[in-house]
Amino acid sequence: MTIPNIVGAGLIVIGAGLGIGRIGGQAMEAIARQPEASGKIQTAMLIAAALIEGIGFAALFAA
């Protein structure tokens, strides 16, 4: 692993972390606003988080 690779991997992790954090936070807010829709929000949240996570991992392995 070279230094640019490591830096790149770090950036990816930061980006993915921010993205997933935002999804989680927004989902929390949405659940607080509409507790009756929590099931649907959770599913959508997990799917979105999983997609970002997938991209993050793909980039990590490419790095």
């Binding site: 599913t43 997990l46 799917i47 999983a50 997609l51 997938g54 991209i55 991992f57 990590l60």
Partner: protein, 391 residues
Amino acid sequence: MHQFFRTHSCSDMRYSILSKILVTVFVLFTGIVSAQSHEGEEVETGAHDLKTEIKEYIDHHLLDSHDFSLFSYTTDEGEHKYIGFPLPVILWDNGLKIFSSSQLKHGEGVAEVDGNYYALYHNKIYKTDAEGTIKFGAQHDEDTHSEDAFGENLVVEDAHPSNERPLDFSITKNVVFIALVGLLMFLMFRSVASNYKKSNMPKGLGRGLEPLVMFVRDEIAIPNIGEHKYKKYMSYLLTVFFFVWIINLLGLTPLGVNVTNNIAVTFALALITYFITTFSGNKNYWKHIFWMPGVPVPMKIILAPIELLGTFIKPFSLMIRLYANITAGHVVLMSIIGLMFIFKNWIGSPLSFVLAFTLSLLELLVAALQAYIFTMLSALYFGMATEEDHH
């Protein structure tokens, strides 16, 4: 002041005993000691060697192996002893070659079958001569050198041996575990199923497992696939959910078996999801891929390859996600356990123990979560493939 020094020297003395205990616990807890561990090297000799050793240890913990060894130790004479049992090695090298992995001696021996010689190098089987020589290819010119397979002076980490590799279909440790989990699941769920013949209410094991089955049906299959079509996919979803979950959980036990951190295993699972999705795709699904309705024609032409690529990326991300989550979890967990041996003081070791303990709990959650995510995304893809036209 005097008092202080006395305590200090006392703790020093206790430290050496403690470190031995910790080493034993470490070895017991995490499983196989690498076959390449350097002979005669003491754990306490130096921080740098310790770090290398821990790294190697982690690497080998994550890898598959051709024998089932619970732990190993080095005798005073510098000889490696392994506690465990060998597994059959099955090779395809101009004919089927079957022999016991005990002949390979954990990378320290050469197995002879029908006049062919095989040796282990970095956990892979290579065809060698009678001495077990591993040659290195020309693509690593600067690193080209010969060394014996017994792993001494491994300077070149990324060197690819140029020896011929036979097709390896050995019953490895992971294969044994896959089969064991399969057997366990079969026995468990068959007993649950046979209970329903007697009465309509779940009994014993079924009381715990039925809610999980219901969870897969009501929370994963029906919302994502739909009320009318979910039944066809239930068998796969249930099997994959319980398989991944149980095998993830077993990976957390001190047996040191990590099946789902093999890309081959997750690839096989993702491939099945891909084939089921592709074969159950209806007209509407393919129309959305090749000729997206509701967008102008130039966009349709641009979208088609992207959508087509998407069908491969979806199962690919499934594969990578499961693999990476489990691998990352194990690497972090083992690194923290390894920190115990690097921080040789009274603060570091308990701290890393607490961290490792907490992380183990988190890994328990991850084991279930990844099984859930894998199953749910599979269900989602099946749902997409079978969705009817709403326009």
